[in-house]
């Protein structure tokens, strides 16, 4: 049964709104993600950055930024679907929601969470490591496109692992092949932005990979979500 686009959009927004309403009351993902990111960043800055003794590791620092974002996202994003299974609301959602609208609503929630995380982490990262960005627009583009891919990929993988017993392990195993190309592109683009020498076509490649993840998510999610 096909539904009008307006009701599909209304469904997607209802899911996004519900996710944020629940999150603002429990603050589970916000606290987990922010705490993990800030703690890791401080540890890195003490040992590798200006707060520590060595400045020799500067070229490695953009890699560290994406590792922090990846692990912070891994700590918080799978909850979007795992929580539904834990509190037994998955059946109610399966019976009431259009799968593609559910995927998009959850993906938009994860995306907003990642962008909030990046808004917190990126300024702190630049400040604590005293890192000068030669091309700020490219740096922001790397964060935006990389964050989108992280959200789209993590949402799909979270739906896959939600019904498994060893959720965290399975998330790491499945995330590796899906998110590895994304992280390689994002790290290279960030390195280029910091050094003032971004490679041609990397932004486009990252956006293309984002699009692929989104389309794959929309196509695969109904199969993963429903029996």
């Amino acid at each position: 049964m096909s539904r009008p686009v307006s009701s599909w959009v209304a469904e997607t927004l209802a899911i996004l709104l519900k996710e944020w309403r629940g999150e603002l009351r429990t603050r589970y993902a916000l606290n987990t993600v922010a705490l993990f990111a800030v703690t890791t960043l401080v540890v890195v800055s003490i040992n590798l950055g200006p707060l520590g003794v060595s400045r020799a590791a500067l070229p490695v620092l953009p890699v560290v930024l994406w590792l922090i974002l990846l692990f912070a996202a891994s700590a918080g994003l799978p909850r979007s679907f795992v929580h539904e299974e834990e509190i037994h609301t998955a059946a109610a959602l399966r019976l009431a929601a259009t799968p593609s609208a559910l995927y998009c609503g959850k993906m938009l929630y994860n995306l907003s969470l990642i962008y909030l995380l990046e808004l917190l982490v990126a300024p702190l990262y630049l400040m604590l490591l005293e890192l000068a960005v030669a091309e700020p627009v490219t740096f922001v583009a790397a964060l935006a496109a990389g964050g989108f891919g992280l959200a789209a990929g993590s949402t799909l993988i979270a739906a896959m692992v939600a019904q498994a017993r060893i959720k965290a392990t399975l998330f790491a195993v499945l995330a590796f092949p899906v998110l590895l190309p994304l992280l390689v592109f994002a790290v290279q683009l960030t390195l280029g932005a910091v050094a003032g020498d971004p490679k041609n076509g990397l932004v486009e490649l990252l956006i293309l990979y984002d699009g692929t993840l989104l389309v794959a998510g929309l196509m695969l999610f109904p199969v993963i979500w429903n029996p």
Binding site: M1, G22, I87, R94
Partner: protein, 207 residues
């Protein structure tokens, strides 16, 4: 069949479902039409809940067919999921949302006006602004009923639908249930529903 009732039916034929090597439902067949109740009975572990989950589209049967017709139109499994109402002990609602927020959320997913949820909560004596996580087990069961009837489903699947309800709760729920039966609801229900009206047929599992 009453000609004034809508053309709604749910029929299943030789439905089979197991978990690994354990076969729980073996070649179960049955049918129910608008305004009728099909009662599924059987001992613990005989597959009543599994059968209802298959009918709801929450679990795929390993063999057999399910035919669902609403207003004369045959529904596929995706449409069947959205059409049915389902009350079951393992059906959770969001504990961090209030009763009215839960119903408004699911109403939005189905494109329903927000007033419908408020009217149902009032009818079932539920406090709209109390968190679902702070409800007693009986009140949570009433909320499950409100959730199941929110979209005025043509087909209702009931798994232990009266559990944890006190006498006024049972009365309120059964009154509402009878109203929906009169407008042409087709119902498949499992054991603790022995006091349900209009039982047209019974199916005993595990024999």
């Amino acid at each position: 069949m009453d000609p004034t009732l809508p053309q709604t039916s749910l029929a299943f034929d030789r439905l089979t479902r197991g978990y690994g090597r354990l076969m729980v439902v073996r070649e179960a067949s049955g049918a129910v039409a608008a305004g009728q109740v099909l009662l599924i009975t059987g001992t613990n572990g005989s597959g009543k809940s599994t059968l209802l989950r298959c009918l709801a589209g929450l679990m795929a049967p390993q063999a057999g067919t399910i035919a669902c017709t609403v207003a004369g139109r045959r529904l596929d499994v995706a449409a069947r999921r959205r059409a049915i109402g389902y009350v079951a002990p393992d059906l959770g609602l969001y504990p961090e949302l209030t009763c009215i927020e839960n119903l408004t959320f699911f109403g939005r997913l189905r494109g329903l006006p927000p007033a419908r949820g408020a009217a149902l909560l009032d009818r079932l004596g539920l406090p709209p602004k109390r968190l679902a996580g702070a409800l007693s087990s009986g009140m949570l069961q009433r909320l499950r009923w409100a959730w199941a009837l929110l979209h005025r489903p043509p087909i209702l699947l009931l798994d232990e639908p009266l559990q944890n309800l006190d006498a006024p709760g049972r009365r309120d729920v059964l009154e509402l249930f009878e109203q929906h039966l009169e407008r042409g609801l087709a119902v498949v229900a499992s054991p603790d529903s022995l006091e349900l009206p209009r039982v047209a047929s019974r199916l005993e599992l595990g024999r």
